[in-house]
């Protein structure tokens, strides 16, 4: 019976997914009304191309998305061949445009527009003076030396359309006014031209995020460079593509701009920061895991004394003597590594407080932190065998607004005259309000902030401050668990690695700055650096293996 039921369901599903072809409608009116209802559409638009009997209907849906129906009209009846979803009307129109172009072919190829203009103006020569969002800025030199520059607009049907023409007295003036190549560009263009065996820059287009360069090679073919022209190191080429003619280059750019599936730049992670960053992070991770495993195997690991953490018991002792509560604030941040670390330390504080039946106040500014804090406090009381001592109201959510929280905490400090205060986590401007109020009531204060801007305030106002990563060492210090100790040692190894790296870099860089230079052995680039430094030394930083590791290929 069960097998029969399964077979029936499977068949039904199969029939639904495969068996049903596209729907058919008796006429256009029936199609329009049925689709309007089915798609919850705002409006529709018909597009007919010359090719075949195929038409397209663009439907704008109430949900801002769009559907394009490819339909076949046979004797008045409409058969929906396929229905393509798009995220918005723009993407749908872009797709329709590519279809239209495939239907009609390119209307204004760059090469024809350029040769037509040369003939039309009676120009003696034409050259490219710059790049614009619409395409290359071609300058036509007339026999009278007057230069006409056409400002193009991208033609969505592949090619260029001229929107405006400007006249200049000569080519240099035109270049001065319209040429948008910076010195950085010009230098790169020269180098790239040499690298491509004497290629000339024949086509260019400026996009929001990319600069396109179309190089005409000596054999008449083209290479398109897709580049980021504005990086600290100059022009960064993401990709190079080969094409047969300038029209193909232009058509490719137009099509690629409309087509969401064409990728223009790959490996952004590595081209921006290089392999060095990832390598270092992985190495640090390996250090940490290795040491955790080492500690778990029973290897004894020791860490130095941290004064602030030694004071926890004393602070709780004083609170017990005076029968006043211990206050804990895990910062005003969200539930992240910092808050979790603060709560882990507070776990130890609560444990000591539970042993002496000292009241606690754990005040939070984030509901997620509040939830975790309450669970941790309850667990600690339970594990100490005094669950009845846990007062759910001792862990409180005060407010998620910075200064409302600050006022609330300050009020509790003053009213309950807390004996000890622990401020650990992410603190901002409210840090002083907490620390000074606790100081007014004479509480012992231990503070740790991950915000270096707040650390000086805590140092000025609190009794003990955990500096920087001592905050992360706190849980290992208090709990002495192998995992925490191991990760702490791993972090220390990483710090030693960075120190060694800084020392090494200082030595290598200092040597490079003073090492003798033979001017005859220098490349053009090195000679520029040499001359920039009054012919004394080269800033070899551009040439070290390390910096090469931090860059993806530069051309």
């Amino acid at each position: 019976m069960r097998r029969l039921l399964f077979l029936a369901t499977a068949t039904a599903l199969l029939a639904l997914t495969v068996g049903c072809g596209g729907p058919r409608f008796a006429d256009e009116a029936a199609y329009l009304s049925a689709r309007q209802t089915a798609l919850v559409a705002k409006n529709s638009e018909k597009q007919e191309f010359t090719r075949d009997d195929v038409s397209f209907y663009l439907w704008n849906l109430e949900s801002r998305q769009a559907i394009v129906d490819r339909v076949e009209v046979v004797g008045g009846a409409i058969h929906v061949i396929e229905s393509l979803p798009f995220s918005d009307e723009g993407s749908a129109r872009a797709w329709l445009l590519t279809e239209e172009r495939a239907d009609r072919g390119t209307q204004h190829p760059v090469s024809i527009v350029r040769s037509n203009r040369t003939t039309e103006l009676g120009a003696t020569s034409s050259s490219m003076v710059g790049s614009s969002p619409g395409g290359p800025l071609y300058a036509y030199t007339l026999p009278s030396n007057v230069v006409v520059v056409d400002i193009p607009a991208s033609d969505a049907l592949g090619g260029i359309t001229i929107t405006e023409s400007r006249e200049f007295a000569n080519l240099i003036q035109a270049q001065g006014e319209l040429g948008n190549w910076t010195d950085n560009h010009l230098e790169w263009i020269q180098q790239r031209s040499e690298a491509l065996g004497g290629a000339t820059l024949d086509w260019a287009r400026t996009l929001t995020e990319f600069q396109l360069y179309g190089w005409k090679l000596p054999d008449g073919t083209y290479t398109l460079d897709i580049a980021d022209p504005d990086t600290p190191e100059g022009v960064l080429v993401f990709r190079s593509e080969a094409f047969g003619s300038v029209d193909e280059v232009s058509a490719y750019a137009d099509r690629a701009l409309l087509d969401d599936s064409i990728r223009w730049a790959g490996g952004l992670q590595f081209s921006k920061s290089g392999w060095m960053l990832i390598g270092t992070v992985l190495l640090v991770g390996a250090f940490i895991i290795f040491n955790i495993l080492r500690a778990k195997k029973g290897k004894t690991l020791t860490i130095r004394r941290i004064a602030g953490l030694d004071q926890i018991d004393e602070a709780i002792g004083r609170a017990t003597e005076t029968a006043r509560p211990v206050l804990m604030v895990p910062g005003i941040g969200v539930l992240d590594g910092i808050s979790v670390q603060a709560l882990t330390v507070f776990g130890s504080v609560i444990r000591s407080a539970a042993r002496f039946a000292t009241p606690i106040r754990l005040l939070t500014a984030n509901p997620a932190v509040f939830g975790v804090a309450q669970e941790i406090a309850r667990d600690v009381y339970l594990s100490e065998g005094v669950p009845e001592q846990f007062d759910p109201d001792s862990v409180r959510f005060v407010s998620d607004r910075q200064f409302a929280f600050a006022s609330g905490v300050a009020g509790i400090i003053q009213r309950e005259r807390v004996a000890a205060a622990f401020f650990m986590g992410e603190f901002f401007a409210e840090s002083m309000i907490f620390a000074e109020n606790a100081n007014i009531v004479g509480a012992i204060q231990v503070a740790a902030s991950t915000q270096t801007t707040q650390t000086p305030f805590f140092i000025a106002a609190c009794d003990y401050v955990l500096l920087g990563d001592e905050f992360y060492a706190a849980s290992a210090y208090l709990g002495r668990q192998p995992v925490l100790l191991g990760s702490l040692i791993g972090v220390d190894w990483s710090k030693m690695l960075f120190m060694a790296f800084i020392l090494g870099a200082v030595v290598i860089h200092s040597y490079n700055q003073i090492r003798p230079v033979d001017p005859n052995s220098l490349t053009i680039e090195e000679r520029t650096l040499y001359e920039a430094n009054d012919q004394k030394y080269i800033d070899w930083r551009t040439d070290t293996w390390f910096l090469k590791l931090t860059r993806e290929k530069r051309q």
Partner: protein, 399 residues
């Protein structure tokens, strides 16, 4: 795999993209968003029920597993190189499993929704503490009463204002529809009249403010100011009269022109902003809460002073160094302090003893390296913490 990524990213198909669903003027039961919300609540409740029923020895692996998967998504997002489209949009490089980077906003939205749900826990905590105190008439019960009244007042006006603004969206959509079908009604006459008045009033106010600013700066005379004010008044009257004529003509013909639609949109916005709810919300939030926030913030100045007074007492050699360093930095930030050593020539060796030179040196060569070292330690610490949480080694989270 692909469909699940697309479903998570809510990319396609369009019919199921819940983020793009809009509230319309239709009855709530016939709107897809309502059923999506109901469905989500049911599915989440079942999931939560199932999680609660998981035997305790499976609970840790479950939490660690979910934490790892969620955390690893972000690690992978950072670690795996991305590609960029012509539009500048970053995409995942593996086409087989779809653009999982597109799921990033959904992941963030989900995190936001979970935080919003947790906020209820926070509100319950506040309510329990303060309502209990109020009920038992404990010490300071009056403050608890004030807190609860403030909280519920803010909650009421905030929610009501949100609802009204959503109502405004519906009205604007109706105006769009009316503009498309060019249908005029009595309601649109009223709204457009309000819009014309509100637009003309804004223009008049801008002109008057500009004139007043110029008068204060001494750019124009008192007479000129009065003339400009009268002109602004006249412009207001003329604009209102012209719009009224347009609206009357449209009402007579029953056809809504694009201009009238524009006035109606402005009118609908003005109607919402001038309503009791919006005004009250502005009063409790902008005029009360934000002012109190600023007042609390300003207290910090006094606290810094008292903390500095204690920190700079010359108790030890370190405190003395600290005080002198602070003094140099403080002096270098005030013109009077800079004036002390301004006579020293800055292009000679003795220029190194100028207060600004010493202060710059302290900031650049003592302060910055120290801060960088602390930041490096913090970054490594948080990396280790993140790894412990990701692999379920952190006791506080996984147990």
């Amino acid at each position: 795999m692909n469909w699940s990524i697309q479903f998570l990213a809510q990319d396609t198909p369009p019919g199921t993209n819940i983020w793009a669903l809009e509230r319309t003027s239709d009855p709530i039961l016939s709107q897809p968003i309502f059923w999506w919300v109901v469905g989500t609540i049911i599915v989440t409740s079942i999931l939560l029920f199932l999680i609660a029923r998981v035997p305790s020895n499976f609970r840790k692996p479950l939490i660690v597993g979910v934490t790892f998967l969620c955390g690893f998504y972000y690690v992978a997002e950072w670690l795996i190189p991305k590609q960029r489209l012509a539009t500048g949009e970053e995409i995942a490089p593996v086409p087989v499993i779809g653009n999982w980077l597109a799921a990033l906003p959904v992941a963030s939205s989900t995190a936001q929704i979970i935080s919003a749900m947790l906020l209820v826990l926070g509100v319950i905590s506040i309510f329990r503490v303060h309502f209990g105190r109020l009920l038992k008439a404990q010490k300071d019960w009056f403050f608890s009463a004030v807190l609860l009244i403030s909280m519920f007042t803010m909650l009421f006006f905030g929610m009501a204002n949100f609802s009204e603004r959503r109502g405004l969206d519906v009205t604007l959509a109706e105006i769009d529809k009316a503009a498309e079908s060019q249908e005029m009604s009595e309601r649109w006459v009223q709204v457009a009249t309000l819009g014309s008045e509100s637009q003309a009033f804004t223009t008049k106010q801008n002109a008057e403010n500009d004139a007043f600013r110029r008068l204060r700066k001494g750019e124009i005379s008192r007479e000129e100011f009065e003339t400009r004010k009268t002109e602004a008044e006249d412009v207001y009257e003329t604009a209102v009269a012209a719009s009224t004529a347009q609206i009357e003509a449209a009402a007579a013909s029953g056809e809504m022109t694009p201009e009238i639609a524009g006035l109606a949109r402005a009118g609908a916005r003005a109607e919402q902003a001038r309503g009791f709810i919006a005004q009250s919300q502005r009063f409790v939030f902008t005029d009360m809460l934000q002012v109190l926030d600023a007042a609390t913030f300003s207290l910090i100045a006094f606290f810094i002073l008292s903390a500095a007074f204690r920190a700079f007492r010359l108790r030890s050699i370190e405190a003395t160094i600290l005080m002198f360093t602070a003094l140099i930095i403080l002096l270098s930030f005030v013109p009077l302090g800079l004036a002390i050593t301004s006579g020293l020539p800055s292009d000679q060796f003795i220029g190194n003893l100028r207060l600004d030179s010493i202060s710059d040196w302290i900031l650049a060569y003592l302060n910055t390296p120290a801060i960088r070292a602390i930041n490096l330690g913090l970054a490594l610490g948080v990396l280790a913490m993140g790894m412990r949480i990701l692999f379920g080694l952190e006791r506080g989270v996984s147990e």
